[in-house]
């Protein structure tokens, strides 16, 4: 029986985008179990509902995370709109969908860059982030900000996109598609990438379901769980199928995310071709009263918003359950039995967004 040592995989690590602490119990370089500890970026955002009224809270909700910031604002606004029974205009739904799919693309390309950085392939990391700059320029042209947009409001959206800018977006999408084909050829076929990801961290289909994994993590094992097929915002008018793979290892998760970027490009082109004319915002009066659960599909999985209001302008409770929170048990299961050098790659395959997890 080998000797057991405990190594802290600390909050500071070159491969982690955000701080999380894991205590790894090792036996001769094979990980036996991992014990998590979170709380380094806890800001108490859910307690701010006592101080900010429900219209000012949109800005707080957007700033929960920097990468998926638009969808947090959208989820909060959709919850309050459902409580107040407000129907937003069609054009606003399509504009929200376009921004949401662009967010998904930029988050997946960011993740591809970080994964390449995790196994030391720095030039691939830089090229992925160069592609991401094209999307950030679109955001700045249409909303005014690169990371935090402040464009979603209760009742619709604040800024409109005219037809000329929409045509420009289609041109940029075609450009990105061409360059992405070159990059994905490297990710999927290069033998260095394959030797580090094939067969690492395998989760079977039943295991992924029993552990409560969501998002690309469970779709790479074969469960087709995708909240977009439910049909919120403009998704009921678009044609798409959830993307699944069957092997369940880290390579399958890379495949699923790359295919999702191509699917998003296609969805944006579909949206732009059928977007209707009309208003973009509806004025709301009064205060909300009631409670509602909204479920959205963020780039990392399924997110739940619970808003409870009592008739005054201050809300009772806002609760956000983010996808990384639900994927942590799956992470702890895949870490059992892997080598110490694979730990950074496995942590990155769940796409950890710790600032979302801890709010």
């Amino acid at each position: 029986m080998g000797e057991r040592t405990v190594i802290p995989f600390g909050p500071q690590h070159p491969v982690l985008p955000e701080p999380i602490h894991l205590d790894l119990v090792l036996e001769d370089e094979v990980v036996i179990e991992a014990i998590p500890q979170i709380g380094y970026v806890h800001r108490g955002l859910e307690k701010l509902v006592e101080k900010k009224d429900f219209k000012q809270y949109t800005y707080v909700a957007e700033r929960i995370c920097g990468i998926c910031s638009f969808m947090h604002g959208m989820g909060y606004c959709m919850s309050v709109e459902s409580i107040m029974d407000v129907e937003i205009p069609e054009r606003a739904k399509f504009l929200r969908t376009i921004w949401a799919e662009l967010s998904r693309m930029h988050s997946h390309i960011l993740w591809l860059g970080l994964t390449a950085d995790a196994f030391g392939f720095d030039s691939l990391f830089m090229h992925s982030w160069r592609l991401r700059e094209m999307i950030l320029d679109i955001f700045e042209q249409t909303t005014g900000g690169r990371v935090i947009f402040s464009v979603c409001d209760i009742g619709g959206v604040r800024k409109d996109i005219d037809q000329e800018t929409l045509n420009m977006i289609v041109d940029v999408m075609n450009n990105i598609e061409k360059e992405l084909k070159g990059l994905s050829d490297v990710f999927l076929n290069d033998s260095t990438v394959k030797s580090r990801t094939v067969g690492v961290g395998v989760l079977s289909k039943q295991q992924a379901f029993d552990l409560g994994a969501i998002g690309p993590m469970t779709r790479a094992s074969g469960n087709a769980i995708d909240m977009r097929t439910e049909g919120y915002a403009a998704y009921d008018k678009l044609k798409f199928e959830p993307i699944i793979a069957t092997q369940g290892d880290s390579y399958a998760r890379i495949v699923v995310r790359i295919k999702e970027i191509f699917q998003s490009i296609d969805l944006i082109k579909q949206c732009i071709s059928i977007i209707p004319e009309g208003d973009i915002i509806v004025k709301i009066k009064g205060n909300p009263n009631g409670e509602y659960f909204t479920r959205l599909e963020q780039p990392r999985g399924e997110v739940i918003y619970y808003v409870k209001a009592n008739g005054t302008s201050f809300l009772d409770r806002v609760r956000v359950r983010t996808p990384t929170f639900a994927n942590i048990p799956a992470l702890l299961e895949t870490l059992k039995g892997c080598a110490l050098a694979d730990v950074p790659i496995l942590i990155l395959t769940i796409d950890p967004c710790i600032s979302c997890t801890e709010r």
């Binding site: 909204t294 409770r317 942590i328």
Partner: protein, 115 residues
């Protein structure tokens, strides 16, 4: 979107969760609100059918853990125990208030004591 909220008492929790698990539902989230007592909501989902079980109880009452049926519920229950101070018994994996490293005990309960 279909969503139903079903009120149950804290003794029925284990039976209802067992029913959900055998029908193939997955546990989505456990939420907690602190206003006029503790209000817990257990949310389950299967093919977009969304069911919530709601329990209203006092601050000092005890409630059973559903950890042995849904092993990944340990994160939600530890968070609720640490931030709100709800007494959850029979947890298989108990972090004993070490999950979040905060300096104040049960911060979300402070507004109740100051009222």
């Amino acid at each position: 979107m279909e969503q139903t909220i079903k009120k149950i008492s804290s003794n029925d929790l284990l039976n209802e969760t067992n029913l959900m698990k055998n029908s193939g539902y997955r546990l989505v989230a456990i939420s907690c609100t602190n206003k006029d007592g503790i209000e817990l909501t257990y949310s389950f989902d299967k093919d977009f059918d969304f069911i919530n079980l709601r329990i209203n109880m006092d601050y000092d009452a005890e409630i059973e853990s559903i950890n042995y049926m849904f092993p990944y519920a340990f994160l939600y229950e530890n968070e609720i125990k640490e931030l709100f101070g709800v007494k959850i018994v029979n947890m298989t994996l108990d972090f004993k208030d070490n999950l979040y490293r905060i300096s104040v005990k049960t911060p979300f309960n402070m507004k109740k004591e100051s009222e």
